[in-house]
Subunit: 237 residues, 6 copies
């Protein structure tokens, strides 16, 4: 009954390839089905101005999409002269999510910028960016630990994200574009490796949902994030 | 234990004054404690281009804040030459929320723009904007019904919003600025008059939350929204 | 013969309510008939860069208008990405006018920013902004004097402004929108409490005016400003 | 006593050279002492959208300054990405002034754009732009009359402008930069060939002026504009 | 003597992988050593406005670089709000080059946009973009031919580009970043499969070059482009 | 056979008038036929930030065009809010070209900005800007030498530029607008007084050119630049 033929609780195939950008301190290409995102983590020793002297570090994120990542070509944001509201909303979400998994004291006064660029889009790009972005961040931090710049690990836990929604009256996990564009309600769930919640966003456009449906979506999300965390672990081995 | 001395489940005093802007088709000044937002609804017979010929209407929203609505002066967005990511995120949320309470076929090919301008800020401005914005929208639609332009009411139900969060380890409703700036987790809950969910956003910065805490926050939100809906009804009588 | 039924030399009812914005060092809501402007004064201890080390203070102003302050909705300047030429012209005028009533040595190296936001417009918004902006400035300076930060008063005199114009062939004071949009000549007059001139702007669009008419407009303005100064005094008592 | 050695009522030497830009329908180079402005008038058969079907014409103006027109180099506005408030204020003034001398019905549904570019600046650039801009406009209209496109002359009268101010306590005409930067009060006066007023702007920065001084400034302006109108006539012969 | 150990006339290894972006009408990933560019071609049936009714087609290009394609992170152009002069110069070059190989009558009134996004940079990104962009264009045109939308092939010949320069006093082909940043003279040569010239750009920064050296650079370029054309042919088989 | 009746190798009349802008350290008005460019050189003792402490100087350029320099009026870039890609490409070329004739060590830590503003355009504006810009630069450096600020001359050689192209199947020098808009191939050649190459740009739009034609274009350019250098020398005597 799902356009892809998947079960209601079936994730798309996940692949995470590390070390794909030779200049970045950490990088990966994450593929969730036909959604492909290139993630890199860049370490800057100069923290942003508001942190000077605080002893705290910062993790921030930027998000972009190639013009032809989508079915019809989108205008290039650099050519339009600004990032859309959607782009800003997404990159703020990625940054907040990754910071929730970091001990900013242990990171010290430096900034890590995680760039997530969507090469191909088929729904769920913000979730893939968080899951892949965390892998790039993990690799960059490993470099700092390996070089002895950091002596204790500032990464507290895994961070991963999945979308769930109500499609054709049923709760489903990991929506692809065909589902996403039809779903009356959809949500994004960011969680830790231990299953604690970082961010929950459920949204109905032209419909509403019950508290019971909300519970079912969270159930699906918990199982989905567990699969993603396993994929992160496998990629890092 | 709350800075304001309120109980954990106690809302701030709510006041909604209607008809405060003589030119607007609908308007109100909503006060949630020291958060004051001026809301207006403007009817435009020309729908946005993407609706031409569809027979469907549109509700959209814009959000702003006076430079000295806050404790220290913020730079004016018009002078900076762009709306911040935060502003865009908020106005997208208000628009989505109000559309969830509208029958777009019944509205017909017209657009209603709801402007929410924060005169004074003390936490919870986006929620107050949704609650007050709905009143302005209701009044503008009443005008269309009264003039016979519309014959069936496109408004399906009330829409109202409240914030909840975890402050000093306890779940509290309707956070003011003192609480909001300290809360490890906070969320915004948009619901209908019938108690169905439109939008749920829970976010942890530098912390995480459990599924159990999530449930408590939703409980608080359901009670808070019920109070707001009652205040909307009283203001419209 | 005036649309409002006023005499040629009759001002609209003036009301100035102080202390309306809890965070600002000085604030008021000025109402000149149906023109309502919210004015706040914000003290910043860091003067602008060009004053560093000069010992001189600065007063500057910013002006805005809510999208639905007017009969039909105007586009929000923050959303358009720039302030219009009209807005910039008005805020430069407000700043120059208020500086003319200030002793910049006595103010010392600090900046006071006066924000004037039009809540409802019915002609004469720039004049109301100057008259109300001066009250906000006065209150902010009182706070500095009260706290002992300043020991001598940098405010030299009242500053107030009124518009006059030629409507239907007759010189009238304090034009409302119905008159302003029809007037062949209109002018703005900024004066001190002692009746000295700060700024005189008379402008004819599609018409011209004689030196004799110019004299009559100044007569009307002198009487009008005297009334406004009296209203400022009353509001501050 | 004036830095240039001129009498209080003495204008700078005026020269107006016509036909200096081969592509423009009308053009001139106006020199008021060391202030040099290149003015062109461009006829566009497409009127701006707000005039479609009205039968009325439009005259508008744009103003610019070469980066090294001034003593120290100014940043190029095109490189900065926006026109300053000062530039916008000036070009609005030029446009309003020129329109006051035009019969928009006789002009018919077309637009004439007058570009005023300051090649060298020594005070009074906006006044020189108006005086020279009118000559360019006159020449462009002559072309339309000569070609039989227009049969009645839409130009009602000459338009010219001069600055006056209070320098070292004395009222003087046609301020150069050395005077302008020191003057406590300065004003711009736009008048017709018949001596009627189009625009009067007097402004005090850090000082005030009396009604009597205002009268003296107007006297000086009337004589100055008469000289400029004579120079316009000579240039067009 | 070259940092990479290559001979003076030795190109870097070339690889062109086609069909890498599922939504695009044509796409490839071109690798010239460590320079990797993702190229896509998008067909739009609506030609740009200036072509309406002309019967002619258009090919245009856009260029971008991921922030961490380079050794240190570059600021994202979308976040900066504009494309740099360098970016605009490059995308204009790509567009001009590809149009030189197209029969615009045979293409008909449609536009093909070629996007070139640098995933990893090591010198020569604009040349790789042209060479890879042509392959994407070829594939998109093949789709139009295959679908019978076009009946005669609008592609006249291959287009490919290589850089040459004077490094450490010697003329070398296909400069990598280490060479490019040190070269006194460098040039870009765009040619057809038949060896005719489309674009030649030679530039000396802080040095000059002789006509004889110019000849040597062209010799190197002719041989290099021939290798690139062979690689294009191999990739398309 | 050329629209102007010139021989294939005949330049347009050249005139260079120096000292035309009283405030600039160096200036000239260059006329190449009907192409007129006003060039100024401005010395700034503060070098750009990237040179601080390097001991090296910098020469940069900006380019603009008056709106009515052309046959039909162009929109003013300052009003559009950005410089076009073409403008940026041209000013980068002018800057690079002038730097190639400068010893940056001898110049010392200062910046000279060369502004080239096209007053009237008839093809070849970028070449005229380089040729005239060099004269302005030469005059500004003379001022530094005359004042004893510099003791050795940082100018190594003349820099001048000419366009050549293939018009109606024949190679011609110094294209005017009528030729430029029809030419299948056109190029810009920047050379030193000694005849060494600084920049060579040949470009075919919708056509291609042979290596033999390339040689003919360079021959024409060498002779043309020699004439321009002679004109520079004459103007400076």
């Amino acid at each position: 009954m799902r356009p892809s033929g998947r079960n209601l609780s079936q994730m798309r195939p996940i692949s995470i390839e590390t070390g794909v950008m030779r200049h970045a301190e950490g990088s990966c290409l994450i593929r969730c089905g036909n959604t492909h995102v290139l993630c890199s983590a860049s370490i800057e020793d100069n923290p942003p101005r508001f942190l000077k002297g605080s002893g705290l570090g910062w993790v921030t994120a930027e998000y972009g999409m190639l013009p032809r990542a989508t079915n019809t070509r989108n205008r290039r944001e650099a050519a339009q002269g600004k990032q859309s509201g959607r782009t800003q909303e997404i990159q703020r979400l990625i940054g907040r999510s990754l910071r929730a998994g970091i001990d900013r004291v242990a990171l010290g006064e430096r900034q890590i910028t995680v760039d997530c660029d969507v090469i191909q889009a088929d729904g769920g790009t913000r979730c893939a960016s968080i899951t892949g972005g965390w892998v790039a961040l993990r690799l960059a931090v490993n470099k700092l630990l390996g070089a002895g710049v950091l002596t204790s690990d500032p990464i507290v836990d895994h961070v991963a994200a999945v979308s769930c929604g109500i499609y054709a009256g049923q709760t489903v996990v990991d929506l692809d574009y065909a589902e996403d564009s039809e779903a009356g309600t959809d949500g994004n769930f960011v969680m830790t490796g231990a299953g604690r919640m970082i961010e929950v966003q459920m949204s109905a456009e032209g419909a509403t949902f019950s508290r019971d449906e909300m519970g079912q979506l969270v159930d699906l999300a918990e199982a989905g994030v567990a699969e993603l965390v396993a994929a992160q672990k496998a990629a890092l081995e």
